[in-house]
């Protein structure tokens, strides 16, 4: 996934929409901030999410963070291989480290998300 083509939430999820299917992960910045990842909790396929609903948890040696849905939809697929091996999330958060796929039921949440430039500014502000 090209990071420049993605949309970003303030809580560091990225989203890529193709037709009515959205792929969601967390940004490289988020992974870097969390440091060494230890566990991930994923939702069940079929769960419906509203924007802002937490759909999982990622835990590092430093912190536990909820994962939030940027748009409304139904979970169609989860990257369950991450439960056994978090390396793809650490090494390739925009690609092999994707977390869930949603069938989007309401795309209106997309308008409130940031493009890459705005997200980078958001991260820079958060670092200070």
């Amino acid at each position: 996934m090209d990071p420049a083509s993605l949309k970003y939430a303030p809580s560091h999820e990225w989203i890529h929409v193709d037709g009515d299917i959205a792929t969601i992960g967390i940004s490289e910045f988020a992974v870097h901030q969390l440091t060494d990842l230890v566990f991930i909790e994923l939702p069940e396929v079929g769960r419906t999410l509203e924007p802002g609903d937490d759909f999982g948890v990622v835990e590092s040696v430093k912190a536990v963070s909820d994962l939030y849905a940027p748009v409304a939809g139904e979970v169609t697929e989860v990257n369950s291989s991450l439960e056994d091996n978090l390396d793809p999330l650490t090494d390739d958060p925009f690609g092999a480290g994707w977390i869930i796929k949603l069938k989007v039921t309401d795309a209106s949440g997309l308008d409130q998300l940031m493009d890459q430039a705005a997200y980078q500014a958001h991260c820079a502000a958060e670092e200070h």
Partner: protein, 489 residues
């Protein structure tokens, strides 16, 4: 001198046939074991216990104990934990045979001394809280939170009100939402302002007739006193909600202000933190709760009541009329309550106020000593603790908060709390407490200033003087090895 071999396990020290004691031959007839215990309850083989001599055992544990860092051996500025020195006098008093050996089923008439002290403790805690009714029952602060929320729940139920939501700021201790969820409430987390306080507009937008309780720690986790607490309390009371004060940071305000005076309706104490007692290792703790008069009838049972009679006061255990029930067997963790009682009696009201003044002074002194290398992003002055950031040190040298924490161990200081709270990047949360001298704080500051000038690569690999340097935290979390197993199996 430290024995660096001390970490060998007893199993590894074992050798077949070694004994710490040999029993004399029995002078009663032998009875085969299977005649005493039914065969299905007997193991096929004896358990693989280590065979060691008494000196093996003693050296093993004494050497292990020398590897400990504790408040009795080192300065321990672990923020949020209030690692103050525990006066040994109170340990000794709490262990006196007449107190420590008192059986929980002793008749009230024969336990009047103990009941008198517990009644007195209720009175003192009520006075410090500014809240009239106290239950000493809860076994720890978090259980106090749960008990108080169950009290709130019973109160609303009694009034026929359906209030389902507990609100708390993002800086709350993790136990707050955990207690609320366990008590059956929905948890609503509120965003704070950029200076680390409650955002009144955000709070207002969440207040309605579903609001049950707002839980707040004051001073908060950043070591800041919430100056709007009175307004916050009024806002809650306007919509019929209650204000819960998490008393974890009471060490900063003893005798200066009181939760009841700034609008709190209920609170808990952490006796071990605020009034001293052993820390860590899962307790035992004590988490008494104090509440306003209209909540008193719901408190956990039993409480101590005093009745004036012609022959003097008589103390007895009572059950509040609408009690939520028991939350702990017998009378709670009396041994810990006694330590707190003796601490309060030793210091008295003026001494207690001085504790807080000194704790706040020490924290601000250390904060100013470190300001050039570890600035504090939130607030000009702090209360009993502060959260500094190693962000600029890391930017300049690559030395992170974790590196600093690890390297401090080599200099004989326990590390501060790091990477908490999350709102501060490269957080180092320091709480020197009132029991440290200026000389100790100066020495600690000198060491921090020294470490930031050291070779970063050397600091990345610290500690260099401990038997284990940096454990593999990822493996420890993902594949914990929780017990020893023989190599052969």
């Amino acid at each position: 001198m430290r024995n660096t071999q001390a970490t060998a396990l007893l199993f590894e020290l074992a050798s077949p046939g070694r004994r710490a004691a040999r029993f004399p031959a029995a002078d009663t007839p032998d009875v085969p074991l299977d005649q005493l215990i039914p065969a299905e309850f007997l193991a096929a083989e004896p358990p693989p216990l280590p065979e060691v001599t008494e000196p093996d055992v003693i050296r093993h544990y004494v050497n292990l104990s020398t590897l400990n860092m504790s408040v009795d051996t080192h300065f321990y500025p672990l923020g949020s934990c209030t690692m103050k020195y525990n006066p040994k006098r109170h340990e000794r008093l709490a262990g006196l045979a007449g107190l420590g050996d008192l059986h929980p089923y002793t008749a009230e008439a024969d336990a009047q001394g103990m009941l008198a002290m517990m009644w007195d403790m209720q009175q003192m805690l009520a006075e410090i809280a500014g809240l009239p009714a106290v239950s000493l029952q809860p076994a720890a602060g978090a259980q106090g939170e749960l008990a108080a929320l169950l009290v709130a729940s019973a109160y609303f139920r009694d009034r026929g009100e359906k209030r389902t939501r507990v609100l708390f700021p993002a800086s709350a201790h993790g136990t707050n939402p955990a207690s609320a969820a366990l008590a059956g409430f929905d948890c609503i987390q509120l965003k704070g302002t950029s200076d680390g306080l409650v955002d009144l507009d955000e709070l207002k937008s969440h207040l309605d007739d579903r609001t049950a309780v707002f839980m707040i720690t004051n001073p908060n986790t950043l070591g800041l006193f919430e100056p709007q607490i009175h307004t916050i309390s009024e806002m809650l009371h306007e919509v019929g909600g209650l204000v819960y004060i998490d008393g974890a940071n009471m060490n900063a305000i003893l005798g200066v202000t009181r939760p009841g005076d700034f609008g709190g309706d209920m609170m808990h104490y952490n006796v071990h933190k605020t009034f001293t007692g052993p820390h860590g290792a899962g307790g035992p703790g004590a988490g008494p709760i104090a509440v306003r008069d209209f909540l008193a009838d719901y408190l956990p049972a039993p409480m101590v009541e005093r009745e004036e009679t012609d022959s003097g006061p008589v103390y007895r255990l009572t059950t509040p009329t609408k009690t939520i029930g028991r939350v702990r067997s017998h009378f709670g963790n009396v041994g810990i309550l006694l330590r707190g009682y003796f601490y309060l009696k030793t210091l008295g009201p003026d001494g207690l106020r001085e504790v807080s003044e000194q704790a706040v002074l020490n924290a601000n002194y250390l904060k100013s000593l470190l300001a050039d290398v570890l600035p504090v992003p939130h607030g000009k002055h702090c209360m009993h603790e502060f959260v500094a950031s190693a962000k600029s040190v890391q930017g300049k040298t690559g030395i992170s908060a974790m590196d600093l924490a690890k390297r401090l161990l080599d200099y004989g200081f326990h590390a501060p709390t790091v990477y908490f709270p999350l709102v501060v990047p490269e957080a180092m949360m320091m709480e020197p407490t009132e029991t440290e001298s200026r000389a100790t704080l100066d020495a600690f500051s000198e060491v921090i200033h020294k470490i930031v000038l050291e070779d970063p690569d050397f600091v990345h690999q610290a500690p260099h003087s401990t038997p284990v340097s940096r454990p593999d935290e990822v493996q420890a979390a993902r594949n914990p090895i929780l017990h020893w197993e023989p190599a052969s199996t």
